[in-house]
């Protein structure tokens, strides 16, 4: 990873307020990176879904936000970490309309559609890390 101008920032996710805080932090990074307004909105919306997942399904955790570069373009990377129960069936969890909670089942699948890169690392009983990246066009 090449050097970046902004170091990563970490926000704990343990309540409602933190979901709002994550949204605001991601928006700050998205603006700094000069993503278009639509891309900012998509990334912040995805972050909101994922932060809520971390809170509700993961039992809390933290988010990490940073500016990244692949050498040609800048982007924003946000990752969401929890030590919750993990996701036993990924295919199911990523399917539209599937939900283990009270949601609409759009959280994971919807968030994936809103970003350029989406990575899900989960282990039953150990926790889940979801990492997303949005690149500047």
């Amino acid at each position: 990873m090449p050097p970046r101008s902004e170091g990563p920032e970490v926000v704990p996710i343990s309540g409602d307020d933190d979901v709002v805080r994550v949204r605001q932090l991601v928006r700050t990074y998205a603006q700094q990176t000069k993503l278009s307004l639509v891309d900012q909105t998509k990334l912040v919306t995805a972050a909101s879904e994922l932060a809520r997942n971390t809170l509700i399904y993961g039992g809390g955790g933290f988010a990490r936000v940073e500016e990244v570069s692949d050498g040609r373009r800048a982007g924003v990377r946000a990752s969401f970490h929890d030590e919750g129960p993990g996701i036993p069936d990924l295919t199911l969890a990523l399917a539209d309309g599937w939900s283990s909670g009270s949601g609409l089942g759009l959280g994971l699948s919807g968030a994936r559609r809103l970003v350029d890169e989406f990575e899900l690392d989960t282990e039953v009983g150990r926790g889940t890390v979801v990492t997303v990246v949005k690149w500047k066009r």
């Binding site: 409602d16 307020d17 979901v19 709002v20 949204r23 605001q24 928006r27 307004l37 639509v38 900012q40 909105t41 998509k42 912040v44 919306t45 909101s48 879904e49 809520r52 539209d96 949601g103 609409l104 759009l106 959280g107 699948s109 919807g110 968030a111 559609r113 809103l114």
Partner: protein, 122 residues
């Protein structure tokens, strides 16, 4: 937690969301609105989201829930002022907001409530 104020203009309740919505504020708004419609007999609800920067699935579902609750009190709901970036994001997220009436701005929202036949005293 901040509460979203509900204004009454004639027979219409106006909710203008000016804060970054917490999930708890969203739930409180649903309850406050149900109380207020029931207490005032309002026939219409307008939710102005022109200041709202993002609508995720939780907030989107609130609109549908409020519309359904209002319907039980014989009131219509119109969501107005959605930002273009929010609209694009909602569609991509997969949230269609089926059953929720929308209008470009407050003025058109009021007109729609009027056309529904019960907005004359609005």
């Amino acid at each position: 937690m901040e509460r979203v104020p509900i204004l009454k203009i004639g027979g219409v309740l106006l909710v203008s969301i000016q804060i970054d919505l917490h999930d708890q504020s969203v739930l409180a708004l649903q309850e406050d609105l149900a109380e207020k419609i029931s207490a005032t007999g309002a026939h219409g609800v307008i939710i102005d989201i022109s200041a709202v920067e993002i609508v995720d699935s939780f907030i989107g579902r609130m609109f549908a829930t409020i519309a359904s609750i209002s319907r039980l009190f014989d009131a219509d709901t119109v969501v107005v002022g959605m930002r273009p970036a929010v609209a694009i994001t909602l569609v991509e997220l997969g949230l269609t907001l089926g059953g929720v009436r929308t209008a470009l701005d407050l003025e058109r929202g009021m007109k729609i409530l009027g056309q529904l036949g019960r907005g004359r005293d609005a």
